[in-house]
């Protein structure tokens, strides 16, 4: 027995003996080499600062919400005289909290999340705290749902243009493919039944099994809500094909006028048929509406019991810190505060949006009519020398290097029309926004002269 083993052993060595990594580790499906992330790098190297670096790169590629931060700060600091963060228990309260590692999540926090989500939807849908599964961010929630709903080599249909992070979140470790549902400006990039069927057929022709449709509502990067009729059509489509519907509603609290947002939860609310309901899943996070991305709080809300149970167990890979849950639970269940916050946040975002759209209009640039989110979807197609993806990237490069503005090219969002760009406006002060607009004006003036 010994000798054969010895001989086996030597033949096992590969020539250079460098240990190999997995395909996941060496692939570039993480997408971090795309322009979307490259621009961030340029910003990191030369970040704009009002006083210290006024000619630096202004970051307009990061969808972060800083417009209502003061409201949070005031609330958290006011409600926390010494020791009361942990309730009257003080340090022992902290100890209990630090020990809590149940993947169900703190009940008080789940209740707070459910109540917050209901408020955002104006009470038009109810959320059961026991259907809420907590994850460390919406990124993790989307990936986890994909693991649960699809097997490797299956596909999810995703309308374009979509958030560049999906390439990583939905595909990297899961082995699942994204088949795009092509949308274009002829109908304001809304999803049409024809586009849905066509995407489904494309997958079938390639012998790929479609497991669901994943939409973002309000849409990133469009900055617009999905119409109620489209949602109903989508649900019908999913029922007919017997697939899932995932609605990433991470920007639901950032809709400028509450009445313009219809959540898929509202549609499901009036449906009794379990076989219809249990294909619907909602993703939410506090990163955008509350401007707390660093806290890493995301949730999966599912009408499907098996999905909830599985997600809960698998959330053990991506739990929300118990300290964070505790910190936010009382704030989110304070309905007076949240009502005020949601209202003021919407208002401020709307004003910002109007400022930027007006400013761009004056420079001769049109945007898609938007009503939500932290960004606008800008059309620079007329500036392209070549109406190709390369042409778009060339323009993007010029804007980054000459104007020192980092914006996101539509191609990184898989947009089928060239020339569109996503421009974020909520992660800076009003002054900075003015400076950015000024740079754009000057650029456009220079171009007109030639």
């Amino acid at each position: 027995m010994g000798l054969p083993l010895m001989m086996e052993r030597s033949s096992n060595n590969n020539n250079n003996n460098v240990v190999e990594l997995s395909r996941v580790a060496v692939s570039d499906t993480h997408g971090e080499d795309s322009p979307y992330f490259a621009g961030w790098k340029a910003y990191d190297e030369n970040p704009y600062d009002e006083s210290h670096n006024p000619s630096g790169v202004i970051q307009m590629g990061l969808a972060e919400n800083q417009v209502s931060f003061d409201l949070l700060e005031t609330y958290l600091e006011k409600k926390n005289p010494e020791g009361s963060m942990w309730g009257s228990k003080g340090a022992p309260g902290f100890r209990e909290n630090a020990l809590f590692q149940d993947y169900h999540g703190l009940k008080t926090f789940r209740q707070a999340m459910a109540s917050f989500m209901e408020q955002i939807r104006g009470g038009k849908a109810r959320f059961d705290p026991d259907r809420i599964v907590l994850t460390a961010g919406a990124t993790a929630a989307n990936e986890l749902l994909t693991f649960i709903l699809a097997d490797p080599n299956d596909a999810l249909l995703v309308p374009t243009p979509y958030y560049p992070g999906f390439d990583r979140d939905l595909r990297w470790r899961t082995g699942v493919k994204i088949v795009p549902i092509h949308c274009d400006s002829s109908n304001h990039f809304q999803i049409t039944p024809e586009a849905l069927e066509s995407a489904y057929q494309t997958a079938r022709d390639a012998n790929i099994r479609v497991r669901g449709v994943l939409i973002t509502n309000p849409s990133n990067p469009l900055g617009a809500t999905v119409q109620k009729k489209v949602l109903e059509d989508l649900l019908d489509f999913c029922v007919r094909k017997n697939i899932h519907l995932v609605s990433d509603e991470i920007y639901s609290g950032s809709v400028f006028h509450a009445s313009e947002f219809t959540s898929v939860a509202e549609i499901v609310e009036n449906i009794d048929d379990v076989s219809v309901k249990e294909r619907v899943h909602i993703v939410y996070s506090l990163s955008k509406d509350l401007g707390l991305p660093g806290f890493r709080v995301g949730t999966i809300y599912s009408y499907n019991d098996n999905v909830v149970r599985t997600a809960r167990r698998m959330s053990s890979f991506t739990l929300v810190s118990s300290q964070t849950q505790h910190m936010l639970a009382s704030m989110l269940s304070d309905e007076e505060f949240t009502e005020k916050y949601i209202r003021i946040n919407r208002e401020r975002l709307r004003r910002r949006y109007e400022t930027i759209v007006e400013g761009l209009k004056k420079a001769g640039i049109e945007c898609l009519k938007g009503n939500a989110g932290l960004f606008c979807w800008m059309n620079l197609g007329f500036l392209l020398e070549k109406k190709t993806k390369d042409g778009e990237l060339q323009l993007w490069d010029v804007i980054l290097k000459e104007l020192k503005l980092n914006i996101s090219p539509g191609s990184s969002c898989h947009c089928s029309e060239v020339g569109w760009f996503r421009v974020c406006f909520a992660n800076m002060s009003e002054n900075t926004l003015e400076i950015a607009l000024k740079r754009i004006h000057e650029f456009m003036d220079r171009r007109r002269r030639f």
């Binding site: 240990v19 996941v24 958290l76 490797p152 497991r211 660093g294 098996n306 053990s316 118990s322």
Partner: protein, 557 residues
Amino acid sequence: MTRTEPNRSRSSNSDSEKNSGNGGGGRTTAMRVIVPLQGVVQGRGGLFLGSVIPCAFFYFLQFYLKRNRKNDESDNSGEQNSSASSSSSPNSGLPDPTRSQSAGHLTELTGLPRSLSRILLSPRNSGGAVSVSGRVNCVLKGGDSSPYYVGQKRVEEDPYDELGNPDGVIQLGLSQNIKLSFDDWVLENAKEAISDGLSISGIASYEPSDGLLELKMAVAGFMSEATKNSVSFDPSQLVLTSGASSAIEILSFCLADSGNAFLVPTPCSPGYDGDVKWRTGVDIIHVPCRSADNFNMSMVVLDRAFYQAKKRGVRIRGIIISNPSNPMGSLLSRENLYALLDFARERNIHIISNEIFAGSVHGEEGEFVSMAEIVDTEENIDRERVHIVYDLSKDLSFPGLRSAAIYSFNESVLSASRKLTTLSPVSSPTQHLLISAISNPKNVQRLVKTNRQRLQSIYMELVKGLKELGIECTKSNGGFYCWADMRGLISSYSEKGEIELWNKLLNIGKINVIPGSCCHCIEPGWFRICFSNLSERDVPVVMNRIRKVCQTCKSQN
């Protein structure tokens, strides 16, 4: 069980088919089977039909079976991935009482019917239940009924409390460092961070998902302290993530492809099944250690397991060890670690060294040697195969805060891991809290020292008490567990006997312990008892409970 099912149904099915004359669906196929077979035998050219019809029969049989099987809503989807070898068992949720060595063979049988049913039941069934991925089955099956979850649930429903609920179930299953030196330390050091409520500006924004440099530096310091400073850990080789489960899963994704496997000496942590296998498609091949060897790893057995896997076409990508080990609490010797490194080098595989209990070494004998120390003087090529997992929560009693680390010498692994932490990052207020809590070296030293003393004293009390009851434990030098030999108490030397005893301990003794089968121990009768939750006062209570169970066992035997 699954092995016999198709046979039973098949014979009943064909019986009913033979008896019936006509009819739709499956019934007429019987006639078509019988005649062509006759044709084959009598050479009347029925060879073609004779092969095709039985295949069609089998095809329809599976359809029939699928329809008549109990409707498990999550069961509709097909197999996990086509590249998975037969050893990727569908029964691999957390603890699964099936410990038989032939589990691999069992899976091969079930593989075929499942793939057929996937073809037959196309998702075009509108109105039918929507299907989910194969993983769901893995996770939920065996989950709720496994001792691990059942025991946990009982503790949650009826938790012991010295004053409030003295008859409740005592938690000896899960490692929570409740009774350690938390109070003083918390009040003295983390008070500000805790009670001032944390100013949120500066911590609200997006931060590097693999952790703030400041926290990495603090963690590196803590890890060095645990090795008594024989290793200096470099913060830039650390990747922080939300828990040890996540760290192990990330490494599994980076080091192995779906269908590959890791070697894991057993008994091992019950958590590996989920952490390594659930989402990755990577399998675990257990390498059993025996009580005769004090549950130490045998290189010969390891070798054999590697060779057998290779013969089956399964590619081993690495070996996962825990040091201090879970559940035995033993410290791996330098010789052992060097031998492991040789083994890994010769086979060109990785080593994942799970050192989450490094800061909880409480025994006087033996020293904790980190894998980092072993490779310190090695060539780069060998350093790159070593990856260490560490968990702040174990040593700091902060399991809720979700903060663990991967330490690697392999730049590619670090790079991939960093990107993966976007999916499992540490929450920023928690990072800031931890920074303030562990940045002071003197405090860290004091905490580690006090932890060790407390653990040692409880451990010794517990072991003494168990000995008096005739229950021996292996020598544990680190971690939170006693590995107790209860073979004398089980009614039959089998897994059934072990589970019976576990049941008695839970329902009569009202203590939640983990049976060896959850740790994939090949010898029945061993139990993992976690003692970090106990204070000195609790030990006699536990002893009394166990004594009660011992008495019932003895009276039965």
